[in-house]
Symmetry: none
Subunit: 203 residues, 4 copies
DNA sequence: AATGAATGAGAGTTCATTCAT
DNA sequence: AATGAATGAACTCTCATTCAT
């Protein structure tokens, strides 16, 4: 039994090794310019080996996609301890942004890349995305119960909020912050989000 | 002289022909899946011909990039007739979004794609981008003179505003609006922007 | 000793298991499109296991080749009970055809496939083939003693007879009977052979 | 205009160059073991070049298949000068065999190989095959009008005749004549066919 | 005896790019 | 100016085979 367990563990580790390499190369060069060969070279295995762990190139992408959503979900855990709805909303935005900034590669993969991502092949991840969105909407409705956003539509509000944080994350991931010469990207995001939080609170 | 003029004109027309074809195919299949051959076929010329007008594939991309910025700038013209600074700010956002929605392909190219876009090779476009941004900042400062955004930093505000509209545009361009099942993407953007405008005004 | 016997038996059974799987897949997809992996999957063993019983892919082919000849020989047994030489000759043709039709896979392997079959590597099968041919010649000589085929060369006759039945079998195995639209392949062979038998008898 | 003509001619020559190389390698190693690379090497061009003349590997096969049928048809021309129906039938068999012996590679391709040959993709060749068969049947019916083969079915007879010559050709192409040690394959076919002709005439 | 992991070689195919005409 | 031919490098993916366990 311990043999089986070890094998299982090694297999998982190998998968993860591949995924990590792939993720980092995806970010560097983009999905299309990442070849199986390159991934294999990075981990110092032969190209064929990759196929022992993933049926095809797309599968690597999907696995990463899934892992990304799992991580995003996890990183939202702290929200459970935030009682005040407006605080929770703001915390959610901050955590989302934190996730994006700290996991550029995952974020890009999940929310920017076009790659082989379509709802049909990816119902599971889509569902996770949906869940996160539902949670955002419910937080917004909680805010409304607490007196905020009177007369507004929760769904439309959720889109606006998401857009703002996504916009920051996307400009960051794709290096468009560089137009602000002499400014640190991270600082821009930080200040930008602070303003947005204030605006939300007063809205 | 008229011969030279004609030649010049024909050359320009041919370039434009290629660019139009390329742009439409880029949008359809993405930059990487667009082959020179495909572009050539679309315009019914041979692949070699493309190289008489563009040194390499990247150059087509850069030319489109440039054209995009030129168009964006043009589409901002109506702003000159808007006197009130806050109105002008809101109008700017709306025009920007309009541009993105109506020119998905250009917008994607300019603000989302990673592709072969870097400041070194592209100083010209970078400048145009910079100009647009400067204009945004100046509008914001005008708003401040009119009493809005007291004590805020214009640059940071500009980033937040840009992020929001870019976020909407990006979610739209990369089909992430689909998570909102049963909702029209265009409608989401419309409502979302309306809320954002209101927020800005009250901030 | 019984342990050794059991081991021996198990080994033989395993070999046969592999051979049966291989043969059926060879027939389905052809020799070249049959991978060791596929064979292994079919019998629910690992690819490596195959190599415990056969040194290389070719060996499986050779073993099947051999088995085919053994079976063909066996299926000729009934001939021993046919006294009249012309009847025996006709019966031989019929049995040969029956074998081919009922064992398309073996027949193809033995008489049509090029694959890795050459006299040097396969002296044993060659011998069995030779025996069968010798038997055919002797039957023909018996016919001659009974007054048939006067003044003909037995060897040349044997080639003609073999060619006819092989031709039918080969057209059948490689689906060339389809040119006869609206006709059952089996029926064509049946009728064709009947005519051939009559011709032989009158020759 | 002569330029276009030259280009056309060169293109045709190149296609033929490829086809000739392919045919010879197909015969040597079989369809599956013939790689585009090998063909390219043989003609001293790069693999990509092949694709300028054939969309895919199958297409080479199909082109050869077609050429084979065209050649077979051509080689049947002399029959038009043979008046006597039985003579014509025998001549047809001889010409068919001649074609097979002299064009081992084409014959193998057309009547033995499994390869990517199916009626759906190949209606044209199938038709040519059909025509040849129809011609055989009509010759047989002419023989019947001249008093031969009384009471026999022309279609069934045609199958028997075809089978015999195909059988000889197939045993020849796939080197099964080697079982007749000390005998020349060509001689076997020659004698065998002579006997078969006699048989037919007396039937 | 059996396996899972690994690999090197090679398959068909595509493509940006060059160049003689 | 335009082209058709050509190529070399790259792509994803498959497979027979080996080997430590």
């Amino acid at each position: 039994m311990s043999i089986i367990a070890r094998r299982q563990r090694e297999r998982t580790e190998m998968r993860q090794l591949i995924l990590d390499a792939a993720r980092s190369i995806f970010l560097e060069k983009g999905y299309d310019h990442t070849s199986i060969r390159t991934i294999a070279e990075r981990i110092e295995y032969s190209p064929g080996t990759i196929y022992l762990y993933f049926k095809e190139k797309d599968d690597i992408f999907h696995a990463l996609h899934e892992e990304g959503f799992r991580r995003l979900l996890e990183s939202m855990q702290p929200l459970l301890h935030v009682q005040d709805p407006m605080e929770r909303l703001k915390a959610m935005g901050r955590l989302y942004l934190d996730f994006a900034l700290k996991n550029k590669d995952f974020y890009d993969l999940m929310f920017i890349m076009q790659a082989p991502m379509n709802m049909e092949k990816d119902p599971c991840n889509w569902e996770m995305g949906s869940h996160t969105l539902d949670f955002l909407k419910s937080v917004i409705r909680d805010c409304q119960k607490a007196g905020y956003f009177k007369g507004k539509d929760a769904e439309d509000l959720s889109f606006m909020v998401w857009s703002t944080v996504h916009g920051m994350a996307a400009l960051f991931c794709r290096n468009r912050c560089q137009v602000y010469e002499n400014r640190e990207a991270l600082d821009l995001v930080e200040k930008g989000f602070t303003y947005f939080s204030e605006m939300l609170e007063r809205y």
